[in-house]
Amino acid sequence: MRCGHARTVRRLLAPALVVVLGGLAASVPVGAQSPAQSRGRSLVIVQAQDPQRWDPIATFLLSWGMVGCNLFDGLVDRGPDLVLRPGLATGWSWISKNTLRFTLRRGVTFHDGEPFDAQAVKFTFDRLLGPEGAKGPQQGNYTSIDHVQVVDRYTVDFVMKTQDPVIITKLAGYGAMIVPPKYIQERGSEYFSSHPVGTGPFRFVEYRKDDHLTLAANTRYWNGAPRVSAVTYRFVPEAATRVAELQAGRADIAQGVPVSQAGVVKGDPSLVLMPVGSPTVIEIRFDPSKPPAGDIRFRKAITAAIDVQTIIQTILQGYGHRVSTFQSPLSFGNDPALAPYPFDPQRAKQLLAEAGVKPGTDVTLSFPSNNADFREAAQAMVSELASVGLKLSLQPIEQVTYFSDTIPHAKTGQMYEFGWGGWTLDFDNTAYLLYHKGEYWNPVFSDADVEKYLEQERSTNDQKARLQAFRALDRRLYDLAIDFPLWQQVNLWGVNKRVRGFVAPPDDRVRLLSVSVQ
């Protein structure tokens, strides 16, 4: 009797809790008109991060690109297929070794009515390369440009200071977005940063920090009017909440569905899960100034002790691709012939013994605390490293501190997580900022050979020679094992079925021009 009673209680209690907790996570009204339908032709997107500064020269965040590609245009345009095509310029050609000429599109106006012409292009790049640009993180990407010269109202010349093999790609993103001269001169950069104006398919309506940004369709867009009337980006840092909002119909598109919730989205009849391989790669970097990470045998032991493939198959549920250098297969400079270091715990033990690392040695792995997938992977690594005799301590750090202080000031543990977008799809950007001595992201590491190969690939436009230099660089980094590249990230998008024409973009730039709702 008593026993039966206890069992009943247990049987009732556990599911009851789940129902209560589950109900908090996602409540779907039954019978009522779905909130998604009641929004009509306007679209709601939930994304993890609020970039806060909307000025293109003041940001380096993918979350900016997600919105920015709808507000602004560059001279060159890169869609979700990653192909470069004309944007605000209708064509371009090298008229001499260091002069790149652009023919501009006619009849384009900014959202505030200001006309787009050669002056706007000159203003944009003068601003980017001048003192205003020096305050932000974008200037460094464009220092190969010496200046921009106006030829006539619809023709400009880019006069180059140094060779830049990636310049056309760079003109399709971030700092190279064309901004309105009169508006910025009259209102100032600070106002522009919170009330952005561009030439894109959507115009700015309203922004509330850490809450939402609303855009309305620019019906006079040069490439045709958008099909949705308005779009609201809501900033929801918590992944489970984004999925819950999507399930409840309060959002149409959710960015960054965590792998742990992929099944939830997949199983929902009104939603579609869209995975897309991204240029983002995840790795563990070593800080060689912190013993024993200065010892190459220790670093190689770590690469042999962690079973990355199993982590990808289980924790990432296959949503990730193993990489051997810190770039995705989409990246120019990737060497597919390099095989990732194999999982071999015996070898790891042997290397540790050779390096004189005593069993039970404490090593620390730092990572940003909001990265749920890596947090799980890191905990699996604790167990894996324990079996080769290392005690791994995990140090989650609040993400803003992590990127603005911990990494640039070398305050991490011997190992730290690092993710990198590589949006130019050319290894140059990644490799230079991460391995060139003294860069913001590279406070410690330096190697003469690495510097040599970087110099080689930067100093020529000859793509064959560059590829060769990259291959040599790949090999050198691989041999040094200064970092441990783990996987190429597969981004998961959750989309309500009422949304048509949505293409999951590898670079997070969600183009809304041809998206419509039913």
Binding site: L13, A14, P15, L17, V18, L21, G22, A25, A26, A239, A240, P258, S260, Q261, G263, V264, D307, T310, I311, T314, I315, S369, N370, A372, R375, E376, A378, Q379, A380, V382, S383, E384, A386, L392, S393, L394, Q395, P396, I397, E398, T401
Partner: protein, 298 residues
């Protein structure tokens, strides 16, 4: 209390003073339940290596999110595994260590320091009293979670920081409680007598004043243990607490929240562990309060 008991025998309808000391049967049952729950969590913390069926940190990725044994007969994991493939039962048993350590140490530190300050403030009054009580006001007016985030942002996360945060934010409650008890007692005849006999202040505080405050402090302390276990879980849930690989109940909840719809056991059992332990401390605390310190009844 003695005086009240002496007055009572005149009314024959009331139970004799001796009888009053035993609690009514309902109260005894809840006390027993409380003691069992608290005892169980202590046993888990002390004897974790003996009780836990497995290593709480050993992950078997291929066995991740295995349901409890009754839902999947033949599974070696009684209440299932988490997202890394670790045994949830073993982690709950080891997790009791973190919870109790935080609960007890933070209460001990804040209790002892708060009591000492309260005694000094209440007994000497004047300048001492002003400084201690204004500090207490300052402390009590500062939002806890903001303080916790600031401290952890500056010092970095960790068990010792959590204990520090809890201790620093809670001494004021003890100080106020003890001060008020001291204010009452210090005018009592026997204190005056002791003073007249030349007994030192330290001895008066220790032997005559402190014993009067102990019962109230112990009630507050017991209830605070429960509260602090919850706060530890909350801070760890927010990522401000202990190293994620160290088994702790709050950390387990944080790690499992993404699986709440697909693997209910991952969050349910750590949640139950917190609930039952906190309930145990609360039941014992309530009983202590009813028994010793009727004035604290809300």
């Amino acid at each position: 209390m003695t005086r009240a008991a002496e007055a009572r025998p005149a009314l024959s309808a009331l139970p004799a003073p001796g009888r009053r000391r035993t609690a009514p049967p309902g109260l005894r049952l809840t006390l027993a339940l409380g003691l069992v729950l608290v005892g169980a969590s202590f046993a888990a913390a002390v004897a974790a290596p003996l009780l836990a069926p497995r290593d709480p940190e050993a992950a078997d990725l291929r066995a991740r999110l295995t349901p409890p044994a009754w839902a999947r007969p033949g599974s070696p994991y009684l209440v299932g595994t988490d997202a890394i493939g670790r045994d949830i039962l073993s982690r709950i048993i080891y997790g009791a260590r973190v919870s109790l350590e935080v609960g007890l140490v933070s209460v001990a530190v804040s209790g002892v320091s708060g009591t000492a300050l309260g005694l000094v403030a209440g007994y000497y009054g004047g300048w001492w009293d002003e400084v201690a009580m204004r500090l207490a006001d300052l402390q009590l007016s500062f939002p806890f979670i903001l303080f916790a985030i600031v401290v952890i942002a500056v010092l970095g996360p960790g068990l010792s920081r959590i204990i520090l945060v809890l201790a620093v934010t809670q001494w004021a409650s003890y100080a106020r409680l003890v001060r008020s008890e001291t204010l009452v007692v210090r005018e009592a005849d026997y204190i005056q007598a002791a003073r007249a006999l030349g007994v030192s202040d330290g001895r008066i505080l220790w032997r005559h004043v402190l014993p009067n405050a102990v019962s109230a402090v112990s009630v507050l302390a017991t209830l605070s243990v429960a509260n602090n276990i919850l706060l530890e879980a909350a801070l760890t849930f927010l990522g401000l607490g202990v190293d994620p690989s160290v088994p702790s109940w709050g950390g387990m909840l944080a790690d499992s929240r993404n699986y709440i719809q697909t693997a209910w056991w991952d969050s349910t059992f750590p949640g139950l562990a917190i609930m039952l332990t906190v309930m145990g401390f609360n039941l014992v605390g309530d009983w202590l309060r009813d028994r010793f310190s009727p004035r604290l009844q809300g």
